[in-house]
């Protein structure tokens, strides 16, 4: 019997669950797959409906979560096995070798200059490169480097060793091995979040074929001052700043043909925000949003849409839309329909609100934990109405997008709620 709790996933839902538990005096093991906690929220430039700077409000939470005396943040790690039941789960955690001693690395970055390899940055959605030794983003927590073994020539071919030479702290260890940690916990919170679906296969949108078609997350990185273009909105084809922007909603979602019949809940607001930010960056930018239903239905959301129309000149067109291209200018052409009449209109850039899907590893994890997932890969609550987040396994709870489409405040509330349920379970189990 133990009062420790494990949280799987270090995005905002997981961070909130971990902090709520740690603040109550419970020991929390937070397991995060990537080298840093922060999750998707760390990638966002601003958040609707207040246009708050995302990293400004998130970074203090990340720091709190990491330095809390009751948390043990295990990054670059995955849960690979679970036995036992509520009150005493025995969890196996695979701690992947990062080839950098976390206790020695200060994140100074001297190694970065010396590393010769270039790898598309996951955090920047591939819009810029990182090195084989890297920190995913400037505000990463923990502030330590990680070597991506697939792209490090020292590890793959035994040639290079530059980073080791550059590191005065002697933090680099090419011999580091993966480790299995065995932890006992009384309850588990699963908050593994979402991925952005790759729309290349939906050819009607031209993503991957037409250079000036972007996904929403790519655009989000682009408008971030710390992003790959330092906040400049640039076309892929000629690096020019676009003036006419089109945002297309429900790309791959609400669309059973591509396998995502559901609604992602957040993209109407997200695209509205991105349109507003375009205008905030440059007065002459004009945005049009092509949508099926404008789902702006939480607190202050409809008012936000009204503001976008009134103060930011955002144009809303109620229509499905597809994309073609003017081959000469690489201007995307949006084909849509108004009152049954087909129309086409040329834009400088198109941004696709692609389906947000549960991370594919979530299904693996569900198997390990004995959880049920629905046909789309979302983890299922056992009692849908009154106890959202409870699963078929007593002692395991869900939070955030992995349990179904949710925005940030919902994910935060679910994180806290899962924390409460974990405590209740441990108290009731006699812990």
């Amino acid at each position: 019997m133990t009062k420790d709790v494990m949280v799987i996933g270090g995005g905002i839902a997981g961070i909130q669950a971990a902090l709520d538990l740690a603040d109550k005096g419970m020991i929390v093991h937070l397991v995060e797959k990537t080298p840093s906690i922060g999750g998707r929220m760390a990638q966002l430039d601003k958040t609707f409906p207040t246009n708050d700077c995302s990293i400004c409000i998130l970074a203090p939470k990340m720091a709190d979560c990491f330095s809390h005396p009751n948390t043990n943040v295990i990054t670059y790690a995955e849960v690979v096995g679970v036995e036992g039941k509520v009150g005493s789960f025995k969890v196996k955690v695979l701690k992947k070798a990062r080839y950098v001693d976390e206790t020695k690395c200060t994140g100074c970055g001297e190694c970065l200059e010396k590393c010769p390899s270039k790898v598309p940055s996951e955090f920047e959605m591939g819009l810029s490169n990182r090195k084989a030794i890297y920190m995913p983003f400037m505000q990463a927590v923990p502030r330590v480097m990680t070597i991506d073994k697939e792209h490090c020539t020292m590890i793959t071919k035994g040639k290079c060793g530059n980073c080791k030479k550059a590191c005065k702290r002697e933090a680099i260890d090419y011999e580091m091995k993966d480790k299995i940690l065995e932890l006992e916990v009384g309850a588990i919170v699963v908050a593994t979040g979402f991925d952005s679906w790759d729309p290349s296969s939906a050819t009607e949108y031209g993503y991957g074929r037409y250079p000036n078609v972007f996904t929403a997350l790519e655009y989000e990185r682009m408008i971030n001052a710390a992003g790959p273009t330092h906040g400049h909105i640039e076309r892929r084809s000629d690096k020019k700043r676009p003036i006419k922007m089109a945002f297309i909603q429900c790309v791959g979602s609400r669309n059973p043909q591509v396998g995502h019949p559901y609604c992602c809940s957040v993209c109407c607001m997200h695209s509205t925000k991105e349109s507003m930010l375009a205008r905030e960056h440059h007065d002459d930018m004009e945005s049009t949003i092509f949508y099926k239903d404008m789902r702006a239905c939480a607190k202050g959301f409809w008012e936000y849409i009204e503001r976008a129309k009134r103060d930011y000149g955002v144009r809303y067109v109620n229509s499905d839309a597809t994309v073609q291209e003017n081959a000469e200018t690489h201007n995307p052409i949006v084909v849509y329909d108004v009152g049954g009449r087909q129309q086409s209109e040329e834009f400088d850039m198109v941004v696709l609100a692609t389906t947000l899907v549960p991370r594919k590893e979530t299904l693996e994890l569900a198997k390990v934990l004995g959880l049920k997932a629905d046909e789309f890969g979302f983890l299922e609550s056992s009692e849908r109405i009154l106890e959202f987040g409870k699963t078929v396994v007593p002692g395991i709870y869900l939070a955030g997008y992995a349990a179904g489409p949710a925005d940030i405040p919902e994910s935060v509330a679910q994180g806290s709620s899962a924390a409460a349920k974990a405590v209740e379970a441990i108290v009731q189990a006699g812990g």
Partner: protein, 276 residues
């Protein structure tokens, strides 16, 4: 280890320093959560900017009272930069709205004192705006360089006026007005009447002028007892207005009348023992 370090130091070459060029001294008050974090990110990203700003970290820009800024200008600061979170992003919910109101008062007082209000700058910098921070510092440093060194240290009259502005900023009336300004705009006065922003600003500007002049009378009459006429001349204010101020100051027991040689009455500030 020392060898490594020495080696690294030796490798870096300086650009030739303009030896006797005047460099402004600029104080930067940065809030912990956004602008200081933005300055940190600026460093992490290695955006370069001039060396003139010396940052003082505060938890929130709302901490910076007019007194702090005006005392530093009186002490000869060439420029002051106040950095906060963007409006609505404040870590303390509404702090920066008050900062904005206070900055307006500070600028007004600087103007009254005869110090260029452009020496004081308020900027919102978020934790992800590292590059913006470097641009702001670069621009502001240029701006202060154009204005030249603060004249306060060399010009005694200006220093007196600066002290007067500082004094005015600490009066109950101005602090209370600026403290209540936001509330009066948003929720209204005790009768529930919301006040129009421009109306309110007019009111505050008038009060600021009055308080500055009174404070200046006190500063001048601290140095020596002076007549109304003399005060009016130094201050470039009509004597009847000076007299009205003196009546108020006498009621508050802040100034005393003297009759040297039984001639024109002169006035001397009453200094409260020991208190600054």
């Amino acid at each position: 280890m020392a060898e490594n370090v020495q080696h690294a130091i030796a490798q870096k070459k300086d650009e030739p320093a303009g030896a006797n060029e005047w460099e402004p001294k600029i104080i930067g008050f940065l809030c912990n959560w956004c602008s200081y974090a933005g300055a940190d990110l600026c460093g992490v990203s290695r955006y370069q900017y001039p060396t003139n700003v010396r940052a003082v970290r505060v938890m929130c820009s709302t901490r910076i009272s007019p007194h702090i800024v005006l005392e530093l200008f009186t002490a000869g600061a060439d420029g002051i930069l106040v950095g906060g979170c963007h409006l609505n992003d404040c870590h303390y919910i509404t702090g920066n709205f008050y900062t904005e109101k206070r900055l307006r008062l500070m600028k007004k007082l600087l103007e009254d004192a005869g110090i260029e209000p452009q020496r004081l700058r308020l900027e919102w910098v978020s934790a992800s705006e590292g590059e913006k921070f470097s641009k702001i510092v670069t621009e502001f440093t240029e701006q202060v360089k154009k204005l030249g060194p603060s004249k306060v240290k060399k010009d005694a009259a200006l220093k007196t006026r600066a002290s007067a502005a500082d004094g005015a900023s600490q009066t109950f009336r101005l602090r209370a007005l600026v403290g209540k300004e936001l509330g009066l705009e948003k929720t209204g006065n005790v009768y529930g009447q919301k006040l129009d922003q421009t109306e309110l600003e007019k009111l505050i500007d008038a009060a600021t002028k009055d308080e500055f002049e009174r404070s200046l009378i006190l500063e001048l009459s601290k140095q020596k007892a002076r007549s109304v006429k003399e005060l009016g001349q130094i201050m470039d204010v009509p004597t009847d207005k000076v007299l009205r101020h003196i009546v108020v100051l006498r009621q508050k027991n802040m100034i005393a009348m003297e009759h040297p040689d039984g001639l024109t009455p002169t006035y001397k500030a009453i200094e409260i023992g020991g208190e600054q």
